[in-house]
Amino acid sequence: MFFVVFVAWGVTFTTFFIANVVPIDPAIAALGDNAREEQIKEFREHYGLDKPIWQQYLIYMGRLLSGDLGNSLRTGRAVLEDLKEFFPATLELSVAAFLVTLLLGVPAGILAALRQNKASDVTVRILALIGGATPVFFLAVLLQFVLARQLDLLPVQGRLDGFTFPPPRVTGMMGIDALLARDWAAFLDSLRHMVLPAFVLGMFSAAILARMTRATMLEVLSQDYIRTARAKGVPGRAVVFRHALKNASLPVLTLLGGLLGGLLSGAVLTETIFSWPGIGRYVTQSATSLDFPAVMGVTLLVGLVYALINLVVDLLYAFLDPRIRYA
């Protein structure tokens, strides 16, 4: 808990410091070329930008302690409102990408380990190499061009077709909102729109996961207890899934936690290319206009989610490994 608070403080301090050493005036960035001197002066006063930096920081921290993330310099809205608006889209996409990671990475890794040095292993390893080395934007544009434009199988961008009426906003996650409204057409349409961005976003982590799963599985499969299990006649499937996979899952789990966090913060490019209205796109736009309350809000949110994921991973350890117990 103390660690989380320390991390949060570090995040605010670093972001604040970076935002203030960049030699760009947020007032001019927000108001543009035609803005009059009086407007710029008013803007600075309104947002307290005319005060010394240390004072600005203290004011910000004071507000933060009461749960107020301040107002965005660019949109004028409360940052918390903006986060509520954009985070669900990112969460939806990250979870979908995480499923892609799991469903591609783990089976591919197991397959490769069981068929070590055979054709399927080599294929998995080559694919993992390509998947891990292909830049996101290249993969995205390539898939958009082939699957969406040439073959017309999937949509190019957005969360819903323009001709589909969006369901009422409840959670902000389009698929869930469509389900809640029992709007099956919108639900299927939202799934169709999720395929490409989720695949593109999940590809890199799936490649890493496949390699990790393969390596740990190989290690576990060479252990004595596996040989014992096989010797006493335990069926092959049970050996792989009950004995080997469970023991191989610990290091994989650690990796997964990191990967999920990475998906959340790594959605910047994917969101931009697929016009996905999440925090990745929001933070890019905020950063270029030096909207530091917004950047800080996103950084804090991502930091907290990371901490949360780590906590969940730690708890899962205990579940998977009876030797670990928390008092």
Binding site: G162, F274, P277
Partner: protein, 523 residues
């Protein structure tokens, strides 16, 4: 059981698609709308905000089609300007029977409320009312239900005021509905950020920030649109914009790259359009004492060094118009003459005359972003650099973030900048005063150009009400600034658009206004 579920699902899907709106009734307009921050007509001062609110709210007077020089009746069926003792009194007669989306009739009290609201809220565009028109609280009066008189001081230009009224800040709001939704003293500002209360042909149904804006035909509007729904889809990446247009996900793509435009022009399913803008891309030269550009000969040498034809036809690929004077094409007083031709030998002679026989080295500031016409500013700077080299200059190009370019420029700390300018309102004064009047603390001030002749001409032209005399004055001014001013105008960029051939009636005026009610879609 499973079979039953599957049948149900299929039935639901087919029902959904049957219910889905007829495709010819929905227009999907893709572009970078990321500057959208509010739908409130008196607050919005962004391009995209104007694009939306112009279709939600009607103004008293308006421009039609691409013409920005003739005012047409809007909510006011007629208007006249009277010379009072100390004021200009502008009387508007409202049409009867115009209705807001709530069903309330548009009357004089709504006009008074709207103008007072604009003054009270003090949005980013409010200087148009307070400074340009010098409008004061209480200066808008309802004479009867359908007559409004607005008085502005004699020092303000009635022509400018009327042209300002075509902007969204002059979009008349439903005073009853807005007051009902007001919180404290906010004049309904919070509510109007996400809702509409206008008499325009469309009403706002839904705004998913960062994603799309959904408009539907306003059932009570006087102007009946040809389409039922318009969706503005936010797509920031030009490459994705093109793919989305080609795959039929959007009907119109605004802001394509020159390459995409060329590719689409060879495809029979699409047509391309280079819509005018009122923007001018130019070089600004700091003429403060001690600066080499303080010498008029040096500024002339710069203007003779630039190969404008090569720039416009080559690098800009026709996504812009060649222009040298300060009033853009499309506005009253535009002067098409281009007396400065590419003549590096003459530039070298002028430089030698000015005391720089061995050339002149200086810094050229430029943004790292995209300049008008979809071209990276740095590319334009490189072209200018090589042109200037032929004329004997050595320009050291420094590319920095746009906000930083502006900060330096506004502090008068540049030697030469490459920037753009769009007028705040569609009147020649929207350019003339900033470019010529040092006291306006705008472009002339930033370049430290304090010239009494230019200031006198700009002020005189702004207040002239007779159009022919006004044009004559602007002729004098534009010619004077062209030859003496601290600028070298490069080109007037166009906005590159791609449209499905099914879309008809699309017109984008140089202010970026598009009247959705005139657009229709073929099956």
């Amino acid at each position: 059981m499973k079979l039953l579920k599957a049948v149900g699902l299929i039935a639901a899907i087919s029902l959904g698609s049957a219910l889905a709106q007829d495709r010819t009734q929905t227009l999907i307009y893709g572009g970078d709308w990321s500057d959208l921050i509010t739908m409130d007509p008196q607050v919005s001062y962004e391009f995209s905000g104007g694009l939306v609110t112009d279709n939600l709210y009607e103004t008293l007077v308006k421009y039609e089609g691409a013409d920005l020089s003739t005012l047409k009746p809007g909510l006011a069926e007629s208007w006249k300007v009277d010379r009072g003792r100390d004021t200009w009194d502008i009387t508007f007669r409202l049409r009867r029977g115009s209705k807001f989306s709530s069903g309330n009739e548009v009357t004089a009290k709504d006009v008074v409320y709207t103008f007072e609201r604009a003054l009270a809220i003090k949005g980013p565009g409010s200087f148009l009312f307070t400074e340009i028109a010098q409008l004061k609280p209480g200066a808008t009066r309802a004479v009867d239900n359908y007559t409004v008189v607005v008085s502005i001081p004699k020092t303000a230009s009635p022509g400018s005021f009327l042209s300002i009224l075509t902007f969204n800040i002059g979009g008349i709001v439903d005073s009853e509905t807005v007051q009902k939704n007001a919180k404290g003293n906010d004049f309904g500002k919070e509510w109007l950020t996400n809702n509409s209360a206008g008499s325009g042909p469309f009403r706002l149904v839904r705004w998913d920030r960062g994603s799309q804006v959904l408009l539907e035909a306003n059932p009570n509007a006087r102007i009946k649109p040809k389409l039922q729904r318009v969706i503005l889809r936010e797509i920031k990446e030009p490459a994705v914009l093109r793919t989305a247009l080609e795959s039929g996900e959007i009907d119109i793509a605004e802001g394509l790259t020159p390459e995409a435009l060329r590719a689409l022009s060879n495809n029979p399913r699409f047509r391309t359009l280079k819509a005018d803008s009122l923007r001018l891309n130019y070089l600004g030269m700091n003429v403060k004492e001690g600066s080499p550009f303080a010498n008029k000969l040096v500024r002339d040498a710069v203007r003779y060094s630039i190969n404008q034809d090569e720039l416009v036809n080559g690098l800009v690929q026709g996504n812009g118009t060649k222009i040298q004077t300060l009033i853009p094409k499309g506005l009253l007083g535009y002067d098409p003459r281009t007396p400065y031709t590419f003549d590096p030998a003459r530039a070298k002679r002028l430089l030698a005359q000015a005391g720089y026989p061995n050339g002149l080295e200086f810094e050229l500031l430029v943004s790292t972003g995209i300049c008008g016409g979809g071209i990276p500013c740095a590319d334009i700077a490189a072209k200018i650099q090589s042109d200037l080299a032929k004329g004997g200059f050595k320009a050291n190009v420094k590319a920095i973030a746009n906000a930083e370019v502006l900060r330096t420029y506004r502090a008068q700390n540049h030697q030469m900048v490459l920037v753009g300018w769009s007028p705040d309102f569609p009147d020649p004064d929207g350019n003339a005063t900033p470019w010529a009047d040092f006291n306006a603390r705008s472009l002339a001030w930033r370049n430290v150009w304090n010239d009494p002749t230019a200031i006198r001409l700009a002020n005189q032209a702004a207040l002239e009400t007779e159009p022919a005399k006004r044009v004559a004055l602007y002729r004098l001014l534009t010619d004077y600034v062209l030859k003496n001013g601290p600028y070298a105008v490069l080109y007037q960029p166009a906005v590159p658009l791609g449209l499905s051939v099914k879309v008809e009636g699309y017109v984008r005026n140089a202010q970026g206004q598009v009247r959705f009610e005139n657009i229709s879609k073929l099956p």
